[in-house]
């Protein structure tokens, strides 16, 4: 068993599967759940998932529910109208929130001596801006600048395989309705509004690789400054970023 690992955790299929499989290589998994103060609700569902995990693997998980509201305000919300005029798409809300989560995860890892950070990003949902390969690559670079390794260990695992493992362990599956399952994980109203044209009407979300990369680099500089203040250290120079999810 190697050292502790941290996992961005929503309690959904991908992150729960990741939590279980990370136990094969790590003695303890730090589950990090974030709220941004704007339309995140049913966050208690992650505690239900934690209880399920604890029953099956006692003593192997630590859950932290952390507010990123102040950082998210600083990064995006305080200049929301201006940012929207610049980037001209609602992706800025989702990606700004996720970047704040990642920066807060860097801080958590550094403060708790955790060298490895993970999340449940999946190729099945790579229409989501934060799970695009370019986003994953640039987020990995953010962690690397602060001495934390970041990986997406379940990116290429098919959903059927994830579901099979969790069903076999008897995890709550939610309420199936059409091709969806409800009541599994916390909800985010702004995120749902952004992806609604995709979900309801099949219209692809309004973000492209180049714009997304520019946005992450722009915000990355702000996040580095935020972390510098919190950690009293400076980031490592960035090596060449290899695009891709691994």
């Amino acid at each position: 068993m190697s050292q502790d690992v941290a996992l961005m955790f929503s309690g959904g299929l991908d992150s729960t599967y990741a939590a279980v499989t990370l136990l094969e290589r790590h003695s303890k998994v730090h589950l990090l759940t974030y709220t941004n103060g704007y339309g995140h609700y049913a966050v208690g569902r992650v505690r239900r998932r934690l209880r399920e995990l604890e029953r099956r693997f006692p003593g192997r998980f630590v859950l932290q529910v952390i507010s990123i509201r102040d950082l998210f305000d600083e990064l995006l919300v305080d200049r929301l109208a201006q940012e929207y005029r610049t980037w001209r798409s609602g992706f800025i809300w989702c990606l700004g929130c996720k970047l704040a989560m990642h920066a807060r995860s860097v801080l958590y890892c550094r403060e708790n001596g955790v060298k490895q950070m993970t999340d449940g990003s999946s190729a099945d949902t790579d229409e989501m801006v934060e799970q695009m390969p370019v986003s994953v690559a640039l987020v990995r670079a953010l962690y690397a600048r602060w001495g934390v390794a970041f990986s997406t260990p379940v990116y290429d695992i098919p959903r059927s395989e994830k579901r099979s493992l969790l069903d076999g362990l008897g995890f709550f599956r939610g309420l199936p309705l059409g091709d969806r399952a409800f009541f599994i994980q916390p909800r985010c109203i702004p995120g749902e509004l952004y992806y609604l044209p995709f979900v309801l009407l099949g219209q692809t979300p309004r973000h492209d690789e180049e714009t997304v990369a520019c946005f992450i680099r722009d915000k990355g500089a702000r996040l580095d400054a935020w972390l510098t203040t919190r950690l009293g250290a400076r980031p490592e120079p960035e090596l060449e970023v290899k695009l891709g999810v691994r």
Partner: protein, 70 residues
């Protein structure tokens, strides 16, 4: 976070199904805007997002209609 688990990608609906989807979209936006407006009376930080939501609703409706059905 966001939508709960989805198994497959969506198809592009036409006709009545498109109209129903569009109605759900606008209704959800309107409800979210109403909720934010009410919240902004007691939670000051929501004042920062209400104006943006109006613009975003207008742009989303315009974009969805311009991309049309199928």
């Amino acid at each position: 976070m966001g939508f709960d688990e989805r198994d497959t990608g969506p198809t592009r609906p036409r006709g009545l199904r498109w109209g129903a989807g569009f109605a759900v979209l606008v209704t959800y936006h309107a409800l979210a805007l109403t909720a934010s407006s009410v919240l902004s009376l007691v939670v000051p930080r929501y004042r920062k997002v209400v104006g943006f939501q109006v613009t975003y609703l207008r742009d989303t409706v315009s974009d969805v209609i311009s991309r049309g059905q199928g």
